[in-house]
């Protein structure tokens, strides 16, 4: 969490204008917006990384040019990765009861 989110600052303490430090979205975990969860199957995955290109939240985790999983801290469950996957390696399941992490 950013400093201001822990203890809410008063107007006298804020920088003038709508101004923040860089990369504050890292502290804003949007994963709890999710109603559907992408489930990745490493067996079917060919590491084409289409999901990585298309993911609007940079939630596809890649190491050494290989897909290693989905970052559920930020994944909003939009399903674009599952729709773009040519190898049916990503499946959307309902968030409650369908998850595997």
């Amino acid at each position: 969490m950013v400093e201001g989110m822990k203890k809410k600052l008063g107007w006298r303490q804020l920088a003038p204008g709508d101004l923040l430090g860089p990369a504050t979205s890292l502290d804003f975990e949007t994963g709890d917006w999710r109603t559907q969860r992408p489930i990745w199957d490493g067996e079917k995955c060919k590491n084409c990384l289409f999901c990585w290109i298309y993911c609007p939240d940079s939630a596809i985790m890649v190491k050494g040019k290989k897909m290693v999983g989905i970052d559920y801290r930020y994944c909003k469950g939009c399903g674009i990765c599952a729709a773009e996957c040519r190898f049916e390696a990503i499946e959307m399941k309902n968030e409650k009861g369908g998850g595997n992490d």
Partner: protein, 392 residues
């Protein structure tokens, strides 16, 4: 006579001031009667007389958006507009003030469509009165020039945008002998712009304009309100310094023979000049007439106005726009509000006048003072709000 005494229209004077200010970026779109300002300025750019990056955009919305972008990047940025152009900017005007950007803008007062009309009234400025911009009105070409130079200092000290208005055609196209400052004097007076936080400062990366919801939006707006309150001191300080250096003093308003006056008019813009002549005539006839010319409309100098107007018996507000609120014009609402706290309030009436450039002369203004004299004697108001000179 100083060698710097030159004949200029308000548009030419604005353009000349902009040349001397030498902003980093100017983005603009032409609109009558403000077109000349950026037309002349673009010639300065083409002739290499300024270092400005000139961006000819496709609309006023884009003009304001471009100067916002430039200002965020750390540039001293300006544009100019009028009427429909200002109306089209409205959405982005609020972004300029909300992001605390010291953008400076000459604004030529012109009526709003419909019906279409290119002549002076204050409807356009009044439409932007709650956008968080400082608004300074000018009586003459000289004041338009002086106000624009002061606007640079005010904007950059407060990190608030400032618009300086002049009356369309009446001043924008009317030649007046003005005393201009030398380039060196302007350069020294306005100083170098020092942005605090800006996007091109790569050593200190920032996020600007992030989503600001229930938990912080209100605090940011409170800050903006505070900046407007604080700007009052800065406006006075800059006006005083300008006076000391160049001999022309500026405050929130000019009170003309008002200290002992029994009847007074409050007005903004060029009509103040006509009204002063009437005040002089009436004074010769033994009538204690006075005039208050309001220069700074935003921030509204409530406390100071109350002090000056409290002993006047009868006051007429001249509103060059209508609020269409089924009550009165906007200036009347604000001045009447100021007087509410007084134990003994002056009688106050409103004249909505000059819409669409309808001329107002000595005769009309004299008639207003006559009516004020009548109100003073009888202590009764016949009509609270009148549309001056409108045919029935």
């Amino acid at each position: 006579m100083s060698e710097r005494r030159i004949g200029k229209t308000a548009n030419e004077a604005f353009a000349e001031a902009m040349r001397q200010i030498n902003p980093d970026v100017v983005a603009a779109y032409p609109i009558t009667p403000a077109t000349e300002i950026v037309q002349i300025f673009s010639q300065f750019v083409a002739d290499g007389k300024v270092d400005t990056e000139f961006v000819p955009v496709e609309s006023e919305h884009s003009a304001m958006s471009a100067v916002i972008g430039a200002s965020l990047a750390g540039a001293r940025a300006m544009t100019a507009t009028s009427s429909q152009g200002l109306a089209l900017m409205w959405e982005v005007l609020n972004i300029a003030s909300g992001l605390r950007l010291p953008i400076i803008m000459p604004m030529v007062n012109r009526s709003l469509s419909a019906p279409i009309n290119i002549h002076c009234d204050h409807s356009d400025s009044m439409g932007a009165r709650d956008t968080g911009w400082i608004q300074i009105f000018s009586e003459s070409v000289q004041e338009s020039y002086d106000n624009l130079l002061q606007a640079v200092r005010i904007a950059e000290e407060m990190f608030l945008p400032v618009m300086v208005t002049t009356d369309g055609f009446i001043l924008s196209h009317c030649l007046e002998l003005i005393e201009s400052l030398s380039d060196k004097e302007v350069k020294e007076f306005i100083g170098k712009y020092q942005p605090k936080n800006f996007l091109l400062d790569i050593e200190h990366p920032i996020t600007i304009g992030a989503l600001d919801l229930q938990d912080y939006y209100f605090e940011h707006k409170r800050q903006e309100a505070e900046a407007m309150i604080k700007s009052k001191e800065v406006i006075l300080k800059v006006g005083e310094e300008f006076g000391e250096k160049f001999g022309r003093n500026y405050r929130f308003f000019e009170d003309y023979k008002i200290s002992d006056s029994e009847v007074a008019i409050v007005v903004m813009g060029s009509t103040a000049g006509t009204a002063k002549t009437v005040v002089d005539q009436l004074r010769e006839e033994g009538i204690k007439a006075g005039l208050l010319k309001l220069r700074v409309f935003r921030p509204f100098p409530a406390k100071e106005l109350k002090e000056v107007l409290k002993n006047v018996k009868a006051i007429a507000i001249l509103d060059r726009s209508d609020s269409f609120n089924a009550v009165s014009g906007p200036l009347f609402s604000e001045i009447r509000n100021v007087l509410y706290d007084l134990e003994e309030r002056p009688k106050i009436v409103d004249y909505i006048y000059g819409l669409g450039g309808r001329d107002i002369g000595l005769k009309e203004i004299r008639g207003i003072y006559q009516e004020l004299e009548e109100i003073k004697k009888t202590n009764k108001i016949k009509t609270l709000v009148q549309y001056l000179g409108v045919r029935e």
